[in-house]
């Protein structure tokens, strides 16, 4: 069954940062007015460089972080401010897998207890039943049922990540955010975890939000991909479309920067420094314009581009004045300019 399972509308998260001991504070928008529809059963990749807000967005979707403003709907229901029983129900259906397999398990708790925790809080079964479900889940993620009595430090990074996944899935949730689940792992172990996630996603018909900075990994696992830059989604498209025909200049830059897969495909690159602007002092207009090769003065640096489908491609969304205009002759819609 298709349809939207999670919808984020104008989701924003602001942080106060201290500028220095004597300089006061400033506001940083880690996530800035993100609109995102996530379809039931799909895997959507959230990709971007450090500081782009992908982790913050992921954590807001599972309600580990409170949005500063905006709305989250899950399964047609506004869950932005749910509490009590409703929040509990939400937590039963929405789970998260963390990045760091070394800090995502309580070092003092046996892994069986950690894995049984979701069952305990949602009052599933008695002690024996819970144990049995933990044992089954351990086997499902490729470990042994006898591992339940061990402590986290007895496991390798890859094994811990399996435990983390098992814990997130033990309640059979509908929706899981995987926050950089393989970036802390050795390369030879990454593949095991990616395969496991893909298998479980199929088997349990999960909706998966896969947060990562590695484009190849995202391409491998996702159905659709959202590219984030400085707290905004700048491009959102089907996997194959995004990677074969990137439209936003930032997406192009990202893909260009990925090292060659074979020494024969080497190509010269620009060594000049082109860096993320300080989020404390974001540029006006399009946030990417200071680094953009196709930027047009007097326009891109004044008006924030909305996330829009180019007229020729209704399934793709791009936040770029120039690329939208290239694909159409329609003049810019003033109603959408903000700030």
């Amino acid at each position: 069954m298709s349809g939207v399972i999670m919808r984020a509308s104008a989701l924003t998260k602001e942080y106060q940062v201290r500028r220095g001991a004597l300089k006061g504070t400033a506001t940083v928008k880690a996530v800035n007015g993100v609109n995102l529809d996530i379809r039931r059963g799909e895997t959507i990749g959230l990709v971007g460089e450090s500081g782009c807000g992908k982790t913050t967005l992921g954590r807001m979707l599972v309600k580990l972080l409170e949005p500063t403003s905006g709305k989250i709907e899950f399964d047609g229901k506004d869950v932005t401010n749910v509490r009590g029983r409703e929040l509990k129900e939400f937590r039963r259906r929405v789970q998260i897998v963390f990045q760091d397999p070394f800090s995502s398990l309580d070092p003092r708790a046996r892994i069986g207890d950690s894995m049984a925790e979701p069952l305990l809080h949602h009052g599933v079964g008695d002690k024996d039943e819970r144990q049995e479900r933990v044992a089954k889940m351990l086997e499902m993620v490729g470990l042994h049922r006898s591992h339940a009595t061990r402590f986290p430090h007895e496991f390798s990074g890859g094994q811990r990540q399996r435990i983390g996944i098992g814990r997130a899935l033990i309640l059979r949730p509908d929706f899981v955010v995987a926050d950089e689940p393989v970036s802390a792992l050795d390369v030879s172990v990454q593949a095991q975890i990616l395969n496991l996630l893909a298998d479980l996603q199929q088997e349990l018909s999960l909706t998966l939000v896969f947060v990562a900075h590695n484009l190849a990994v995202v391409e491998h696992i996702s159905d659709r991909v959202a590219v984030m830059y400085l707290g905004r989604i700048v491009e959102l498209a089907e996997r194959s479309e995004l990677f074969s025909r990137p439209t936003h200049p930032y997406t192009e830059m990202l893909l260009d920067a990925v090292p060659a897969s074979h020494p024969r495909n080497r190509r010269p690159r620009a060594p000049e420094a082109s860096e993320l602007p300080s989020p404390l002092d974001p540029p006006a207009g399009c946030l990417f314009h200071p680094r953009c090769p196709i930027f047009e003065a007097g326009f891109c640096d004044e008006v924030v581009p909305p996330l829009h489908p180019p007229p020729s491609e209704p399934s793709r969304l791009v936040a770029c004045h120039v690329r939208i205009r290239e694909g159409q002759t329609r003049t810019f819609d003033e109603g959408e300019s903000q700030k």
Partner: protein
């Protein structure tokens, strides 16, 4: 771009390098009988996962093995002089002037309490006899060479005021300030974002070609290898398991570990439905078996029905000119070209 079989002059030759650690958990060789050579103006890449000994190899070459560790065997020959025989004083003249090194975490590799300019100037204080004014000019020139915008102002910056990419540029400026013959780069872009990585790699490449510096590039990322290396040595559990030129490695990897690595990494533009994962985990160096260190994770061994792998340790055997493998599947037999 790179001619695969060009025979440059060998600048640095490492023979049988072994670095041992003695810890409470047990004794082990972090670097075990490692040999390779680096040619003038070319890039050798040491590839491996965490614990493979690639960083420790670099530190052994520099004479900077951390405290409980010790180089116990081997030679490090720079122009025929064995660095391991040198006095501490002689070695200090080499470091920073003839062999330089940059590290993975550029922001913590810089001293937080000194300005960037002061830290680059220190290299000149140590290796050159220049007046302060000349030093300042050279500091600015070094910063300019690494593409630091507004170098006259940036030399007054503190490290924490720089982004990771800028800090790595400063590290490179510092490393290349005295025009060394060898630059050892230990995971120089692992902590950086991909767009910044691309800039830094290109910068290293440009500086290398303009000064004919040799580079030892340490990385776990096959993409970086494909992008940068001329020769490659693949390391696993402290030893080299395969070494050849970069094109051959990507065209015809021989060692099951090398093949496994290539199969397990997703490649952009080539979405395979499934990755070929290497089962198991990197072994603990204190608990190595007598046989091949990769045997417990090796599928090819099972398919070939080899039993020798678990009982005997394979040697690094040259199976064709310039291509050596440490694997029982290939030892004793030539591989057809």
């Amino acid at each position: 771009m790179s001619e695969a079989h060009d025979d440059g002059r060998v600048l640095l030759e490492i023979k049988g390098l072994t670095t041992a650690f003695s810890l409470a958990e047990g004794d082990f060789n972090a670097v075990d009988n490692v040999s390779f050579s680096v040619k003038e103006g070319r890039t050798l890449s040491l590839v491996g996962e965490s614990g493979s000994g690639k960083s420790m190899t670099a530190l052994s070459v520099m004479g900077l093995v951390p405290s409980p560790g010790k180089v116990v065997a081997g030679e490090v020959l720079l122009d025929g002089r064995n660095l391991l025989d040198m006095s501490a004083r002689e070695m200090r003249k080499i470091r920073g002037a003839e062999i330089s090194m940059i590290f993975q975490q550029p922001t913590s590799a810089l001293n937080p309490t000194y300005r960037v300019g002061t830290q680059i100037r220190e290299v000149f204080k140590l290796h050159r006899d220049w007046t302060r004014q000349v030093e300042t000019e050279k500091v600015i020139a070094a910063l300019r060479a690494v593409g630091m915008p507004d170098p006259e102002a940036r030399l007054r910056a503190y490290p924490h005021e720089l982004s990771g990419g800028m800090a790595q540029r400063v590290m490179i400026a510092m490393a290349l300030a005295c025009e060394p013959r060898i630059l050892i780069a230990d995971e120089p872009t692992t902590a950086l974002d991909v767009t910044i990585q691309s800039q830094i790699l290109e910068l290293i490449r440009e500086l290398q070609s303009s000064s004919d510096t040799s580079v030892i590039l340490i990385t776990h990322d096959l993409g970086v290898v494909a992008e940068m290396a001329d020769e490659v040595a693949v390391m696993y559990a402290g030893e080299i398991v395969e070494t050849t030129d970069v094109e051959t490695l990507f065209d015809e990897p021989l060692h099951p570990y090398t093949k496994g690595l290539m199969g397990s990494v997703p490649v952009l533009g080539d979405p395979r439905p499934r990755l070929e994962a290497i089962p198991g985990t990197v072994p603990n160096l204190t608990e190595l078996s007598v046989g091949c260190r990769f045997a417990s994770r090796c599928q090819a061994r099972i398919e070939a029905g080899l039993t020798v792998c678990q009982t005997h340790h394979p040697e690094l055997v040259e199976v064709r000119p310039g291509h050596a493998v440490r694997c029982w599947l290939y030892s004793g037999q030539e591989v057809a070209e």
